[in-house]
């Protein structure tokens, strides 16, 4: 029953988890000094949310550059969603990108491989 708020910086994404709405948003670049510390909070929050009944959860991602450990953390989050989806929990990911930066969409597609839950890649002008 708690919101997650981590303000962004040049090297870390802004992260906000809205417990009531069931929406987790991440925006920006991610190449933190310690990605374990940063994403552990995210993974904890997602785990707690998924353990608390079966309310829908959606991830709204506006991520640009990710370093390797951030890629790994995002894949871990998707693994959680995949397990939840297999257990009948309604989860979804919307990966937003700027139409001028088509490569972000290609990367989102690579993330989407082997994910069976709803995963949309959404272009913006």
């Amino acid at each position: 029953m708690s919101n997650l708020t981590i303000s962004g910086s040049q090297s870390t994404p802004a992260i906000s988890g809205d417990w009531e709405a069931g929406v987790l948003t991440m925006t920006g670049d991610s190449y933190p000094e310690n990605s374990f510390d940063l994403f552990n909070q995210v993974i904890d929050w997602v785990e707690r949310f998924l353990a608390d009944g079966k309310r829908p959860l959606s991830l709204e991602l506006h991520l640009l550059y990710l370093n390797t450990s951030s890629v790994r953390a995002i894949m871990d989050v998707f693994d959680l969603l995949e397990d939840a989806h297999a257990a009948g929990h309604p989860v979804a990911v919307n990966w937003h990108y700027d139409r001028r930066n088509e490569r972000v969409a290609e990367l989102a597609e690579e993330f989407r491989e082997d994910c069976t839950f709803p995963f949309a890649i959404v272009a913006h002008d």
Binding site: Y65, L66, N67, T68, M75, L107, E110, F111, E113, D114
Partner: protein, 262 residues
């Protein structure tokens, strides 16, 4: 084997049950031996059963581990693939940034930063090889007037057109760029001031012929100052002499070329 044991069992049960053998000295021993045998058999069964259980447990665990290992491997491959992709994206971005930082936005020519970098390189090369290079500074005549009377958009178009003429007049290893405002620089490796002058004359002619202020067909001209690099000097001195020669060309009434004394 099992059938043999069963047959033997039946025979022994029959022998032990036969009344006339009851008092035989071997009867008790056979009976005890037979029970010991049955005990051992049962124990062997149990041990085998338990052992099989352990073995299938181990096998199950091996399969689980293998499955988890394969899953981790797939994940690692995916991680490497995505990470490489991000890295390529960064590299391309670096190239684009480096390109942008060396290019003049309006004309697409080299900017002052890039020209300075090349001047430094050419000076070093010239010092090593003894081969000279020449710098030509070209300035569009009465450019302020074009801007003031026809507007900055028209001025920009003239700059772009002059840039295109310069670019089209050079050899592959020459470099032209926008030094600032309406001033352009040509950097001509392995070129004497005399051949630079021939090139400059050709360029000035093209500018007179082609670069017109669009709205009222105002003819455009340019002035040029040329200097040659002197062995051992800093390139800024070469540029200063070309600038001084350009000033002299302006002073002589513009639309002309002046060579710096070498």
């Amino acid at each position: 084997m099992k059938r043999d044991t069963e047959d033997l069992g039946r025979r022994i049960e029959r022998l032990l049950a036969t009344p006339e053998y009851l008092d035989h000295p071997l009867h008790v021993a056979l009976g005890q031996l037979w029970h010991a045998f049955l005990d051992q058999s049962a124990r062997l069964e149990r041990v085998t059963h338990i052992s099989d259980g352990y073995q299938s447990l181990a096998k199950q665990r091996e399969n689980d581990l293998d499955e988890r290992f394969q899953k981790q491997l797939r994940k690692l491959e995916k991680l490497a693939r995505i990470s490489d992709h991000y890295q390529r994206m960064m590299q391309d971005l670096n190239v684009a940034l480096s390109d942008a930082s060396n290019r003049d936005v309006l004309t697409g020519l080299a900017n002052r930063r890039h020209l300075m970098h090349r001047l430094k390189e050419e000076s070093e090369r010239s010092s090593r090889s003894g081969q000279p290079y020449t710098v030509a500074m070209l300035d569009i005549d009465h450019f302020k007037q074009i801007n003031d009377t026809l507007g900055h958009a028209a001025g920009d178009r003239v700059l772009v057109e002059v840039g295109r003429i310069l670019e089209g007049s050079l050899r592959e290893y020459d470099l032209c760029g926008r030094w600032g405002g309406e001033e352009f620089m040509l950097l001509l490796p392995g070129t004497t001031p005399a051949s630079a002058q021939v090139l400059a004359e050709r360029i000035c002619q093209r500018i007179r012929d082609h670069a017109c202020a669009p709205e009222n067909n105002l003819s455009i001209s340019a002035s040029v100052g040329i200097s040659a690099y002197r062995h051992g000097e800093h390139y800024s001195e070469t540029v200063e002499r070309a600038d001084a020669a350009l000033l002299e060309a302006k002073r002589r009434g513009r639309d002309c070329i002046v060579l710096s004394a070498s």
